[in-house]
Amino acid sequence: MNAIEIEGLSYSIGNKEVLKDINLTLQEGRFLGIVGPNGGGKTTLLKIILGILKPSTGTVRIKGDSPINAIKKGLMGYLPQALRIDLNFPATSINVVLTGLYGEIGYMRFPSRPHYEMAMEALRTMGMEELAFEIFGNLSAGQQQRVLAARALVGHPEILILDEPSTGIDVVGQEDFYHLLKRLQKRLNLTIIMVSHDIGALTGYVDEMACLNRTLHYHGSPVHALTEDVLSRLYGRKVDIMLHSDACEKCARLKRE
C-alpha cells in the first residue's frame, strides 16, 4: 500500500509560487530523503503532507485518507525544524515527550502512569533516558532533536516526518541519529520522510531521494540523485557533494589528487 500519494500539488503565497506541480508516491516502510536549497519549499511540502498548510491545487493522500483524517487516526509523527521556544520554557524532556500522547489521551484527561512509562520507553529508544528530567531548553540542539524524535515516536505512528535543523548539530551525532532512524524503520516498518540539507550524509541511509527546488527535479534511488545533471538543476549551478561513505566517487577522486 502507498503511505503517501501526492498529485498535481502546487502551493502559492500571494503571487509567489512556492511549490509547483509536485507528484510523489511513497510506499509503506520506505525511507525518503528530501533535499534541496534553502527556500526551495522542503518545509512547506512537509507542512502540506501534515495538513498544517492547505495546497492551492492538487491532493495529498495519507494511506488513502486526507491529512486531517490521518492526524485524527494518529498515523503521523512530526519532528519540526526549530521550535523557537525560549531557554526557560518550563518543560523537561519527559514533559515534551508526553505532549506527543496528548491527542491520544483525549480532552479533559491527564497523563497517568502507563503514559509516563511509554514516554520513558521512547526516550530510552532515542538514548535520552538519562536526560528525562532535564529542562528541554538547556539541552544541546542534537539532544533536543532526539527528545523531539522520541516525542514523534511515542504515539506509535506509522509515518514519521522529520525536518532537520540546518544548524547546531554535529556531523558525528547526526550520523548516529540517521543510524538509529534506519534501525527503527526496519524494526517498526516505519515510513520515514526526512528533509535534510546534508545530501551527502543522508545518501547512505535513505531508500529514495527526492530533490526539491520549487518542483521535483528528481525522485528515485539516492545514488543517481548525485549526478551533476540533477544537482546543477537543483541548486542552479555546479556543486560538489561529499558522500560520507565508500560510495563517494568525488572523495576518492579528491584523495587521488
Partner: protein
C-alpha cells in the same frame, strides 16, 4: 487581623478577591509563556469602552464590558491575521479607540457621578452580596474549565504545529482561553481597576517563572503569589486606609523584585 474579618464587606472582598487571585494565577502563567501581556493589558483598557456602553444603555457595566472585551479580542485577531497589520499595532488601535469611545460616551451622558473612579482603580471593598455570589460562581466554573484544558493549552503554548499534528483543536482551545482571559480581566477590574489589571495578569506568572522551570510548580507558585498579594493588599488597605487596587499591585511588584534578587543571588552562588 480578626477584627477585619468580622466585617461583611471584608469577607466578601477576601472570598471574591481570593478566587480571582487563584484564577489569574493560572491565566498569568499562560499569558507570560505565550508573551501576550500587551494583549491582556490592551483588552483591559478596551473594556473601559464596554463599561461606558453599560452606563449609557442601562445594562450591567460588567456584563457589557465582558461582551465588549470578547468582541475586541476577536477584532484584534481578525485584523492581525487577515489584514497585513502586526498584532501589537492592532492592539494599540483597538485599545485606544475603545478608551476614546468610553471617554466620549461618558462625556455625552453627563453622569459624572457614576463611580468611574471605581472602574479605573478598583473597588473590591465596595463589592455587593450579589456581585460576590455571581462572581464567585463564575470564577469557580472558569477555574475548573481552565484546569480541564490546561494540558492542551500547554502544548499549544509549547508549539502550535505540534499541537495540530497531535490532533488538538487549536481554535477551540484558544477561544476558551481568550474568553476566560477576558472574563478574568473584567472581573479583575472590580479588584484592582482597569489601570492596574495588567499587574494581576503578568506579575504572578513572571515571578513564578523566575523561581522555577517546572510547569506544575510554576502554576502553583503563581497562584500563591497572586493569593498572597490580593489578601495581603486587602488587609493592608483596610488597616492603613490605602487604596486597595494600588496596594495589591505594589505587593505583586515587591514579590517580583524579591524573586528577581533571590534568583540573581542563587545564580551567582552557583
Amino acid at each position: 487581623m480578626f477584627e477585619a474579618l468580622s466585617y461583611g464587606f471584608v469577607q466578601r472582598a477576601l472570598i471574591g478577591g481570593g478566587l480571582l487571585a487563584l484564577f489569574s494565577g493560572i491565566i498569568s502563567v499562560f499569558v507570560v509563556l505565550r508573551r501576550i501581556s500587551f494583549l491582556g493589558s490592551g483588552i483591559a483598557h478596551a473594556a473601559f469602552g464596554g463599561v461606558a456602553i453599560g452606563f449609557i444603555s442601562g445594562i450591567n457595566p460588567l456584563l457589557s464590558a465582558i461582551l465588549y472585551s470578547l468582541l475586541i479580542s476577536y477584532g484584534i485577531e481578525a485584523v492581525s491575521t487577515r489584514g497585513r497589520i502586526a498584532e501589537d499595532t492592532a492592539i494599540g488601535i483597538f485599545f485606544t479607540a475603545s478608551m476614546a469611545l468610553g471617554i466620549v460616551l461618558i462625556g455625552i451622558s453627563r453622569k459624572y457621578n457614576v463611580d468611574l473612579f471605581g472602574y479605573l482603580f478598583g473597588s473590591i471593598l465596595a463589592i455587593t452580596h450579589e456581585e460576590a455570589l455571581i462572581g464567585s460562581v463564575v470564577i469557580i466554573f472558569l477555574i475548573i474549565l481552565i484546569i480541564l484544558i490546561s494540558k492542551e493549552l500547554y502544548l499549544i503554548t509549547f508549539n502550535e504545529e505540534l499541537a495540530f499534528v497531535s490532533g488538538i483543536k487549536i481554535r477551540l482551545i484558544k477561544s476558551v482561553f481568550f474568553i476566560s482571559m477576558a472574563v478574568a480581566i473584567v472581573l479583575g477590574i472590580k479588584l484592582v481597576g482597569i489601570i492596574l489589571i495588567s499587574a494581576l495578569l503578568v506579575i504572578p506568572g513572571a515571578t513564578a517563572h523566575l523561581l522555577t522551570k517546572r510547569i506544575v510548580r510554576m502554576i502553583i507558585l503563581s497562584c500563591v503569589i497572586a493569593l498572597a498579594s490580593v489578601t495581603g493588599g486587602i488587609f493592608l488597605s483596610f488597616y492603613f486606609n490605602l487604596p486597595t487596587g494600588g496596594t495589591i499591585s505594589l505587593l505583586l511588584a515587591v514579590f517580583f523584585f524579591m524573586a528577581f534578587l533571590l534568583q540573581r543571588l542563587l545564580r551567582d552562588g552557583n
